[in-house]
C-alpha cells in the first residue's frame, strides 16, 4: 500500500484511477512531467511501454522507472535492414531485455518485437519466466527456430496471441504445434504465415476445435487447399484468415466443400495468403466478400480480369494489397467498386525486369485518388510518373497521411516533360497537411526538399533515395520538418555541412540513417564527440577501415540515434561508435550477446 502524500489534494489511488483512462504514451509522458508527485504515481502504474529504438535506453533503466509493466514493445534494427542494407550481426538482440524483465516483470503479459534478433534461448526464457504470458508478436524478427516455438507452445498456458509476421524461422522440425496441451483453449490469434516448414494439419484441427475464441488464423504456404475447408469448419467464428497455397486440381467436390466452409464464416473481414492461386477457386469465397474490409492479394499471381471480378464483390473494402497485375484498368475498376478504400499497396511482379511487364502507370493511382474519397495510405511501385499526375493526386486527396511512391528506376524524370518531379511531390506535401509518412523516388533536385521543409510540418518519417544535389537539400529537411522522427537516406549527395549545422535537431529525432552519401569520417567523429546524447555509429568495411583512409573520405553507412544509455556494448567489429577511441574499440572485440 503506497503512502499517501499529505500535501496532495488527491489521494494517490484516485490519481492512479484517473491515469488509468489515459493510455497513449504521449499523454502519459506529459502527465509524468507535471510534478514530482505525479511522476511517481504515474511511473508506478504505467502498464505499457513502447521503446521505438531498443538502444535508446537500457533494460535496467526501464524496469527501474516502471516497476509494474505488463506490456512491452521494442524495435531493433533500422528500417533499411528490410532491404539488406544492414549487415548480419549488427545487433538488435532481445535477450538482455528478456533477462532483465524476467526478474523485473514477473507479471509481464505481452511482448511485441520488430526487427530484433530473437534466439531460442530468449523464447525459452520467456516461456518459463512469465506465468501469465499472453501475447507474443515477432514482426520481421530472426534468430530463432521451431525449437523456441515449442517452448512457447508447451509452457504458456494463457497464451492468446502468437504472431510471427514475416519473421525468419529456422526449421528444426519436431512438431511444435502439437505441444500445445490438450487443456489449452485460450488461443485468439495465430499467425504462422512465414513458416517454411509444414505443421501437422491434424494438430491444427484439434487446436482450432478446442479454442472457441480464435479470431485470427494466418496459415502458411504448406497448408494445402484441400485441407482448408475442414479448418474453416473448426473455426467458423474467424475474423481474419490467411490461406495456405490456394491451388489444387480443379475438382468440384473440393470446390463445393470449400465454398460451403467459407459461407459458414460470417464474421470474416480480412483475407490474405493466396500463394499459387488457381483462379478457378476464387469464387469459393465470393459469398463472404461483402463483409471484407481487408484483402491481401500481394502474393497472388492472378491477372487483371480475375482481380476485377473479385473486387466487384467487395464493396466494403478498406484495404487492398495487390500485385501490379491489377494494371490501370483494374485500379479504375477498384475506384468504382470500393468507395470505402483507405489503403492501397501495389507491389511489382517483376521488379528487376528492365521493361514493364504490365500496363500499370501513374494513371491507375490517379484513378483511385479520384474515386476513393477516403484513400489516405498509399504504397505504389510503378515505372513512370508525371508532375501533373502527382499534383492531381495531391489535389484529390488532401487527406493523405502516408504516401510512398517507388518509381523503379532511380532518378526517372517526369515522363512527359523530362523534368524532375520536385513540383509533383511539392504538391503532395503542400496539399496533404496531415502527411505523416513520405517516400520519394524519381529524379529530384534540392527543390523538392525545400518544399518538404516548408510544408511538411506533420511529417514524421521520410525516406529518400537517389535524390538531391547538395547539402542544402538535407538542410531544408532537418531545419524545416518540425515533427520529423525518422529520416533514412541512401545514395544522395548529402555531406557534412547540413548534418553538422543541424546537430541539435538529431536529438529531437529517433534516428537518422545515411548510406552511400558524402558524410566524412571526420564529421562523424566530431558529431559523436560533441553530442553525448547521440550514438553516432559508422558501419565500416573491415577490408578498408575508415581510420586508415583520408579523414574526409565518405563513410559508407551511418546510423545516428538519440539515447540515454550511452554507446551500446554489443557492437560487432564492423560497427564503430564515434565517441570511442580506437584503443577502446579494439579492446571490446569478441563481445557477444546471445
Amino acid at each position: 500500500m503506497l503512502k499517501k502524500m499529505s500535501y496532495s489534494s488527491f489521494p494517490e489511488d484516485v490519481l492512479e484511477h484517473v491515469f488509468s483512462f489515459v493510455q497513449s504514451d504521449k499523454d502519459r509522458n506529459a502527465i509524468s512531467l507535471v510534478c514530482k508527485f505525479w511522476f511517481q504515481v504515474e511511473r508506478r502504474c504505467r502498464k505499457r511501454i513502447f521503446v521505438g529504438n531498443c538502444y535508446a535506453v537500457s533494460p535496467r533503466m526501464v524496469t527501474r522507472r516502471f516497476p509494474d509493466v505488463r506490456s512491452v514493445e521494442l524495435k531493433g534494427k533500422p528500417h533499411f535492414a528490410d532491404f539488406n542494407l544492414v549487415p548480419e550481426g549488427w545487433g538488435g538482440y532481445v535477450y538482455p531485455w528478456i533477462a532483465e524483465m524476467a526478474s523485473g516483470y514477473p507479471l509481464l503479459e505481452e511482448i511485441r518485437l520488430k526487427r530484433m534478433v530473437v534466439s531460442d534461448e530468449s523464447l525459452e526464457l520467456i516461456a518459463k519466466s512469465f506465468k501469465n504470458f499472453k501475447v507474443l508478436v515477432l514482426s520481421s524478427c530472426e534468430g530463432f527456430s521451431t525449437q523456441g516455438l515449442a517452448a512457447i507452445a508447451a509452457n504458456c498456458r494463457n497464451l492468446r496471441e502468437l504472431d510471427l509476421r514475416e519473421s525468419e524461422v529456422e526449421d528444426r522440425s519436431g512438431n511444435w504445434l502439437s505441444l500445445f496441451p490438450e487443456t489449452y483453449t485460450s488461443l485468439v490469434s495465430l499467425n504462422i504465415a512465414c513458416l517454411g516448414s509444414e505443421v501437422s494439419i491434424s494438430a491444427l484441427e484439434r487446436l482450432l476445435g478446442r479454442c472457441p475464441n480464435l479470431r485470427t488464423l494466418l496459415l502458411n504456404h504448406a497448408v494445402p487447399l484441400d485441407k482448408l475447408a475442414n479448418l474453416l469448419r473448426q473455426a467458423p467464428q474467424l475474423v481474419e484468415l490467411g490461406t495456405g497455397a490456394y491451388s489444387a486440381d480443379m475438382r468440384t467436390d473440393i470446390f463445393s466443400n470449400l465454398a460451403g466452409a467459407f459461407s459458414g464464416c460470417m464474421e470474416l473481414k480480412s483475407l490474405s495468403g493466396f500463394w499459387d492461386v488457381v483462379p478457378a477457386y476464387l469464387p469459393a469465397f465470393y459469398s463472404i466478400c461483402t463483409g471484407l474490409t481487408s484483402l491481401n492479394l500481394s502474393y497472388a499471381t492472378i491477372q487483371c480480369p480475375h482481380i476485377i471480378e473479385l473486387l466487384s464483390f467487395c464493396p466494403n473494402l478498406q484495404r487492398l494489397w495487390v500485385l501490379d497485375y491489377i494494371e490501370d484498368g483494374g485500379l479504375e475498376a477498384l475506384a468504382t467498386s470500393c468507395k470505402d478504400l483507405r489503403e492501397l499497396r501495389v507491389f511489382p511482379s517483376e521488379p528487376y525486369g528492365a521493361e514493364p511487364n504490365v500496363s500499370l502507370t501513374e494513371q491507375g493511382l490517379v484513378s483511385v485518388s479520384e474515386g476513393c474519397p477516403k484513400l489516405e495510405s498509399v504504397l505504389y511501385f510503378c515505372r513512370r510518373m508525371s508532375n501533373d499526375a502527382l499534383v492531381t493526386i495531391a489535389r484529390n486527396r488532401p487527406n493523405m497521411t502516408r504516401f510512398r511512391l517507388c518509381i523503379i528506376e532511380p532518378r526517372t524524370p517526369d515522363y512527359l516533360t523530362e523534368q524532375p518531379l520536385d513540383v509533383g511531390f511539392g504538391a503532395i506535401v503542400e496539399h496533404c497537411k496531415d502527411l505523416r509518412r513520405l517516400s520519394l523516388s524519381g529524379l529530384l533536385t534540392d527543390r523538392v526538399f525545400e518544399y518538404i521543409g516548408t510544408y511538411a510540418k506533420k511529417l514524421e518519417m521520410l525516406s529518400v533515395a537517389f535524390a538531391g544535389e547538395s547539402d542544402l537539400g538535407l538542410h531544408h529537411v532537418l531545419s524545416g520538418c518540425d515533427s520529423l522522427r525518422k529520416l533514412e537516406i541512401r545514395d544522395c549527395p548529402f555531406g557534412d555541412k547540413a548534418l553538422l549545422a543541424n546537430a541539435a535537431k538529431l536529438e529531437t529525432m529517433r534516428s537518422l540513417w545515411m548510406s552511400s552519401c558524402l558524410v566524412s569520417f571526420e564529421a562523424c567523429k566530431l558529431l559523436g564527440q560533441k553530442m553525448p546524447r547521440l550514438n553516432v555509429e559508422v558501419i565500416v568495411d573491415e577490408r578498408q577501415p575508415p581510420d586508415l583512409r583520408p579523414e574526409n573520405f565518405p563513410v559508407e553507412k551511418l546510423y545516428i540515434y538519440r539515447t540515454v544509455a550511452g554507446p551500446r556494448l554489443d557492437m560487432p567489429g564492423f560497427v564503430w561508435n564515434m565517441d570511442e577511441d580506437s584503443a577502446l574499440r579494439l579492446s571490446r572485440k569478441g563481445f557477444r550477446t546471445i
Binding site: 539488406n84 504456404h221 499459387d276 537517389f466 544535389e469 549527395p493 566530431l526
Partner: protein, 291 residues
Amino acid sequence: MSASGSVSTVSRDDNLVSSSEDSSCPDDSDLQLGLGLSLGGGGAGNSAFKLQQQASFGAQYATSLTAKNFPSSSSFSSSSSSLGKPSHASCAKRSADSVANAYSSQVVGWPPIRAYRMNNITNQAKSVATDEYNSMIEKNKRKNGVVENTTNGSNKNYGTGKTKTSLFVKVNMDGIPIGRKVDLSTHSCYETLAQTLEDMFLRPTINVTGISIQEHDTRVEATRSLKLLDGMSDFVLTYEDKEGDWMLVGDVPWGMFLTSVKRLRIMRTSEATGLGPRIQESSGRQRNKPI
C-alpha cells in the same frame, strides 16, 4: 589534385558547428536550382561533385570540409570554394543513360522490396520444381540405391503464371561483413554465377553519387579473379542445402543445385576441408557430403 593533408585534419577542439563564415562564399540566398549540364570531365566515374555553399544556411558549416578536400577529379577549382551548380541530378541523368538502366538490378536493396516478399515469390517457383524433381529422385533411388545425376531438373518452367520469378539467395564471403544477395534465376550455369559473384565481391564499388571509392584507395590490390570454381584460388564457393549441409558448388547439375540451394558462402580454401576432394578431380563429378 590530391587530398590536402593540412586542411583536412580537424583538431578535436575545433567546433565546426559554429565555425566562422567562409568569406569566399557569395551571399546568395536564392535557391540555386538547375539542371546545369556543365560538368568538367563528365561521365559517371569521373563526376565532379561540387558542394553548393549557400549563405542562406549561414555560417554554420565546416570551413575545412570544402569541396577541395574531396580528392578526385581535376575539375575542382582550388581557389574558390563557391562552385557552380553541377547539379548532381544532371550528372546522374547523363550517366543514367549509360549506366543506370541496369541500376535497379545491380544496386543493393533497390527497389525497396522486403526480403520476405522476394523470398515468397521465389518459393512459389521453387516448390513447383522441387516436388517434381524430388519424386524423380525417389524413383531413381528405388531403382539402384544411388542418386544418379540427371539433367531433368534444370529446365523446369518455374512459376505458375506468366511470371518470370526470381530466386534470391544470400551470399557471404569470409572476411567481409556485408553480405549480398544474388538472383540465381538470372543464371543458367555455374560459370556466370561465379563471374557475378566475383564482380560483386571484388570489383570496385561505384558510389552512386559518382565517386568511385576504389579510385582513392591506393592500397586496394589490383582486381584479381577469384576463380571460384576450379579449386585453384584462395577461396571456394560453397552452398548450404535444404538439409543444412555445406556442399561445394559445381558438383551437381545446375537444375538440381537450384532446387536445393539455400544460401551461398565464399569460403577460404583452408576452411573448406572435408567438403570433398574436388580439387584433384576434374571429372567424374559426384555428390559429396561433408564428413
